[in-house]
């Protein structure tokens, strides 16, 4: 799309309606990517002019000025683009309701020497608030062409397109010299009247009503994003599994590929696609809600309401939403951290979001918990959630003290005016985010799933298709590694628990399946890969659609219990699975099982989370986070286990607690030293 047509750039300060205008001009002809080397989103779109000419419009990041980069990379990106590329026209978007202030961006852009067209946006809001905007005086004062539009309704867009076309043909005007403050006084006459936004704020930021309203919005965000999204997970799981896993296996088998290649293609590649696909509904729903909240202007109010609490752990109020979402799923939580402007806050949030115990982990707690402490399951699970929160708070505190202490932060942020969210904006934004998740994070997830699945399928005897059996390479590795986990209270011959840790990397709920199969007495005879039949995609599609109906019926329960904690204790009424007996005998005690759950909570995020963490924060930060949580979880779980041994073998237990704590302390010092060294340069190198 680039280089073949003329390029025009769209620039403006944050919240001036720039993106709405961009969406209005280009419609669905958009392409997103990242600016080279940074995580700032780049949007290109095709704009059809009335004459039939096609030009490429580039949506530059929102900036207050071009020369000072308080917002970090955004100003740099915009500045570099204007200097290095040669946009034939720069549209400077100005918010009419705040025109006076907005003009201060103009001198910077005029200094680049590019042809400029001023677009005064939100003229309707200005009128509604009684603000008098003189566009003719603006044109005269600056010597630049001016067009007034209302991009939310489309008013003036055609005139704008005609103007763009005329200016591309010939740009005759030269900018006049002017004084910003003096010009602002001439073109912008605000009335003293209280704006609509201030009137709404009286209620939504009211000393008493603000918090209940905030909680209501958060509750709705969580239910819609996580619970409504979850309704469609099974559909994607069944249908994509049918097409990509079973379909690929059948296809590979029917053209006579060797079993190894079949496993790589079907379980590895197909399984990876299936896994990425199951995240689509939750991430889609989350972004629908987030974009609507952002577009409406409430997001910054929510941050305002919760700011005081978040300040205590050294984060801005905006970090609250990613963390809350983390209780549903860590993947969108890490992605939602993008809304944080400050880099140190964004990195911290990405770092601690995986400690929020997600819905998938709950299923493991329920499975293990109901086997070992059926009467105490609720309390144990509550303790695990609390532990996750405490670890998150502790980590945030440490990061701020050790790593970000030199990074000054300013807490001043703009609170945009309220607007009715535009469907077009909300859907475009959601689509861009989904697209970016599927293609960019998805790639990374796929690779890990491929490797893990090959290990799970490949048998020690060289055969394939050994998933969830004792013969797979993964199980063999699990057996070898089990002694490492004895200090956690896992038990000497409890290798299925170790294998569960590996399969738990796919997705935490997979631990349940692994434990259930591996503990269950093996009755099923092995029939590896002999009878591969074509998947009945029609029937699976039906089953998928049916799952949506069933899940929707269950949604009403989720409204009262968004975390799904009601599932706790229900299972004990059913017949205990056959695997329970083996599991009960292999773990040394119920406390050992609890320590195992502590380890499951913290040891490492699942591959999908790892994928988005790598994409959002780079591999250095991802590695830091994984090493940190591995060490911490091992220390925590093993010390909890040894604390229970204090009475029976005090010397050994005490020795372990002291020495492991010493090792942890030294390791953390080393890690911190490593991270601190040249920290800023390194962070810059990992896309921040």
């Amino acid at each position: 799309m680039r280089d073949t047509t003329a390029q025009i750039a769209i620039i403006g300060s944050p919240n001036c309606g720039k993106t709405t205008l961009f969406n209005r001009l280009t419609g669905t002809h958009q392409k997103t990517g990242n600016w080279p080397g940074v995580t700032v989103e780049r949007k290109d779109g095709r704009l059809n002019l009335p004459s039939g000419q096609k030009v490429t419009a580039v949506d530059l990041p929102g900036v207050y000025s071009l020369h000072d980069d308080i917002q970090g990379v955004e100003a740099r990106v915009a500045h570099r683009y204007l200097n290095e590329h040669n946009p034939e026209l720069v549209l400077v978007v100005l918010d009419a309701t705040r025109l006076g202030r907005q003009l201060s961006l103009l001198p910077d852009i005029i200094a680049t020497g590019k042809p400029i067209l001023l677009v005064v946006n939100m003229l309707d809001s200005a009128k509604a608030e009684g603000i008098d905007v003189d566009t003719a005086a603006l044109a005269q004062g600056t010597g630049l062409p001016v067009v007034g539009v209302v991009s939310s309704t489309g008013e003036g867009i055609l005139a704008l397109k005609i103007k763009i076309q005329a200016l591309l043909e010939a740009y005759p005007l030269v900018a006049a010299h002017f004084d910003v403050a003096e010009l602002a006084r001439r073109v912008y006459r605000p009335t003293g009247q209280v704006s609509r936004t201030q009137k709404i704020d009286r209620w939504l930021l009211h000393p008493f009503y603000a918090l209940p309203f905030f909680l209501l919005v958060m509750y709705m965000l969580f239910t819609l994003a996580v619970n409504l999204g979850a309704v469609f997970i099974d559909f994607f799981d069944i249908v994509l599994g049918s097409i990509f896993v079973e379909g690929t296996r059948w296809l590979a088998a029917s053209i006579g590929l060797p079993a190894g290649l079949q496993a790589v293609l079907a379980d590895g590649l197909g399984g990876g696609i299936q896994l990425v696909g199951t995240f689509i509904p939750v991430i889609g729903c989350l972004y629908l809600c987030m974009s609507a909240l952002e577009d409406s202007g409430y997001l910054s109010r929510a941050a305002f309401v919760i700011d005081r609490m978040m300040a205590k752990i050294g984060l801005p109020g905006q970090a609250f939403i990613p963390l809350i979402i983390g209780f549903g799923c860590n993947v969108p939580a890490v992605m939602a951290a993008r809304a944080l402007g400050q880099e140190s806050a964004r990195l911290t949030t990405i770092f601690i979001a995986p400690f929020m115990s997600c819905g998938a982990r709950l299923s493991v707690y329920v499975f293990v918990g109901t086997a070992f402490f059926p009467a105490q399951a609720q309390n144990a699970i509550f303790a695990l959630y609390l532990l996750g929160i405490l670890v998150a708070i502790g980590s945030a505190w440490l990061l701020r003290r050790k790593l970000f202490k030199d990074m000054a932060a300013a807490t001043i942020t703009e609170m945009p005016a309220y607007h009715r969210p535009l469907l077009r904006n909300v859907f475009t934004q959601t689509w861009h985010r989904l697209h970016s998740f599927i293609w960019r994070a998805g790639k990374r997830i796929l690779v890990v799933v491929l490797v893990l699945n090959v290990f799970a399928s490949w048998g020690t005897d060289g055969s394939w298709g050994n998933q969830d059996s004792e013969n797979s390479l993964l199980s063999a590795t699990g057996k070898v590694m089990t002694p490492m986990f004895i200090p956690l209270g896992v038990g000497e011959s409890n290798w299925p628990a170790t294998v569960g840790l590996f399969t738990g990397l796919f997705a935490k709920e997979v631990v349940v399946g692994t434990l259930d199969t591996l503990y269950a007495p093996v009755i099923v005879e092995q029939a590896t890969g002999n009878a591969v039949t074509a998947p009945d995609i029609g029937a699976d599609m039906k089953a998928g659609l049916f799952s949506i109906v069933t899940n929707l019926a269950g949604l009403s329960g989720a409204l009262l219990d968004p975390l799904g904690l009601g599932a706790v204790g229900q299972d004990s009424e059913h017949d205990a699975p056959a695997s329970y007996a083996a599991m009960l005998s292999l773990f040394p005690s119920a406390w050992g099982a609890f320590c195992y759950l502590v380890f499951i909570l913290l040891y490492a995020p699942c591959v999908a989370t790892i994928g988005v963490m790598q994409k959002e924060a780079g591999h250095v930060w991802l590695g830091f986070s994984v090493v940190w949580s591995l060490l911490l979880s091992y220390w925590l779980a093993s010390n909890l286990w040894h604390a229970s041994l204090l009475l029976s073998s005090p010397l050994m237990a005490l020795g372990w607690i002291v020495s492991s704590s010493a090792v942890l302390l030294i390791a953390y010092q080393l890690i911190m030293l490593y991270m601190q060294r040249d920290f800023k340069n390194r962070i810059a190198a990992v896309n921040i």
Partner: protein, 76 residues
């Protein structure tokens, strides 16, 4: 001369000086136009260390009290 965080809701004042303790804040204030001479109105004051809401040239901002304490204001 008062600090911005000492103003009560509804009060207006003119920025007279920005303390240079937090360089980032100074730069950010400059880009946002909260410079000496700018008129600031306090819309919402919070108890304790919470954020306050202010208005300057038609735009609303949230700022924590600790940072507001670095902005000197001449009350009209």
């Amino acid at each position: 001369m008062k600090r911005l965080n000492e103003l009560i809701a509804g009060q207006q004042g003119t920025v007279s000086q920005l303390e240079t303790v937090n360089e980032l804040l100074v730069r950010q204030c400059k880009t946002l136009g909260l410079i000496p001479g700018a008129v600031i109105e306090v819309l919402r004051q919070s108890r304790g260390a919470g954020p306050m809401q202010i208005k300057c040239e038609g735009t609303l901002y949230a700022i924590r009290s600790s940072d507001a304490a670095l902005i000197c204001i001449k009350v009209a």
